[in-house]
């Protein structure tokens, strides 16, 4: 019985894996990272790809993005606008945004 359940669970997980890897399971899904990053996209272009003269922010290393946002928030790095936005997010939220934008 135990073996049967394990086998069944493995099968189900395998099927799910196929569906997830295929990307189909993302249809109808909105992650916290996607919602957070959508607010970045308002000024920095679709997928964070930039809207001149506002710079592209996609594809950045996650740690680098979190680091620069924290530096904006503390005003260690100067900015006109970004310090006001950066102060509104936790490190965890910044990481979720950065992870989403890294893949764009």
């Amino acid at each position: 019985m135990t073996c049967k359940i394990v086998a069944q669970t493995g099968l189900a997980a395998g099927l799910l894996g196929i569906l997830l890897v295929g990307g189909v399971a993302s249809a109808g899904d909105v992650s916290r990272g996607a919602l957070l990053a959508s607010h970045c996209e308002t000024c920095h272009g679709m997928g964070g790809k930039g809207a001149m003269p506002n710079p592209a922010i996609n594809g950045m290393d996650v740690a680098d993005m979190v680091d620069i946002m924290k530096a904006f928030a503390s005003k260690e790095e100067s900015s006109t606008m970004m310090y006001r936005h950066a102060q509104g997010y936790t490190e965890e939220e910044l990481k979720m945004m950065a992870e989403y934008l890294k893949g764009k």
């Binding site: 049967k4 069944q8 669970t9 099968l11 189900a12 997980a13 099927l15 799910l16 569906l19 997830l20 189909v24 399971a25 249809a27 109808g28 899904d29 909105v30 992650s31 916290r32 996607a34 919602l35 957070l36 959508s38 607010h39 996209e41 308002t42 000024c43 920095h44 272009g45 679709m46 809207a51 001149m52 003269p53 506002n54 006109t80 606008m81 310090y83 006001r84 936005h85 102060q87 509104g88 997010y89 939220e93």
Partner: protein
Amino acid sequence: MQDMNRRDFIRLLGATGAVSGLTVMGIPTAVLAKASGKVIVVGGGFGGATCAQYLKRWGPDIDVTLVERESKYVTCPFSNEVLAGDLPMDKITFSYDGLKAKGIKVITDEVTGVDAGSKKVTLKGGDSMSADMVVLSPGIKFIYGRVENDDKVAESMPHAWKAGPQTLLLRKQIEAMKDGGTVLILPPPKPFRCPPGPYERASLIAHYLKNNKPKSKIIIVDSNESHSKQKSFHAGWKHLYGMGEGKMIHWIKETEGGKIEKVDPSTMTVTKEFGDKFKGDVINFIPYQKAADLVHKAGLTNKDGWCDVHQDTFESKVAKGVYVLGDACVAGAMPKSGHSANSQAKNCAAAIVSKLAGQEMPTPTYANTCYSLISPDFGISVAAVYGFKEGSIKKIAAGVTPPHPKEKDRFYKNEAKYAKGWYNSITMDMFG
């Protein structure tokens, strides 16, 4: 495997924690947790166009229909640049082709009625349609009768508060004004669409006058005691144009003479409560505002004329499955700006897509960025990030551009540059 029926299979999937909101109607549908259903979005502005885009982006299988009265949309942001002669109208006019290309059905018609119970939308052309959910982003309507003659002055004292022909009419009047003339700007009492708008308007008209009709003056006869980005606007005016009685921009707050009582198009005068009278060669009378007629007729407004919504999802507090966005709704600490509507639309789309997929919506998060140009090369802004706490939208962080000269001139120049970047980006978000 042959011992495992469909129910067992679904139960096992649930046990993996990977899928929520399963139905037993069929394995593929359940496993995919797809968001499907029909959503009608009414109004193709900053709230509606954004919501339609993000519904399709996050829920590609959702049947999304956008109904908008006009075939093209003219943005209120940057319409003050058109007024001042710095931009042509076509640069702030957008088609809905980008939405159509993404599979969003776009219907050009006026919605005459919404049945909140059955989610049925009736069009002026006579057709009607129903959906699982209806999103309303109808904007504002003007309220007349608060000021004597206020319903008779749309041509003689254009509001230009809905961008389009009114913008061009006011531009024509400013261009025709003699050097040494007076422009009166009359902002309505709060709350109104785009709180910094009248003051940016004064700034950019001043920029035009300084270069073309330098003996002219602008008087802002305000119906409020204070205004958005006040210190930063006033510092910019002093720096660039001169501010105060006899200077190019003179701001008169509500308590100096009381409310505006009468506008008279035959003498081009404005009379305040305690008798002060102002004469203008050009008068920009911006009427009192409430949520658009459509939501009034649908029974969705509160006693003040705005729509109460659950501020995480934007679902109406009085009609399930009906959502209200943008200027028409009450959104906690958020101002009635285009960026606010865009931000609200993304949360609303996330809520609907999640609901249709049988999932919980991600924690809401909202932002507002609002630039104002004091001249084409001198910008200021207000920005804020908001969260959902104890049932309403509350500010987490916020800030206004420090008044000139607290920052170097380069700072204000960069703000003006980034304002243009903001506009390019947000219009791409809506119409791209």
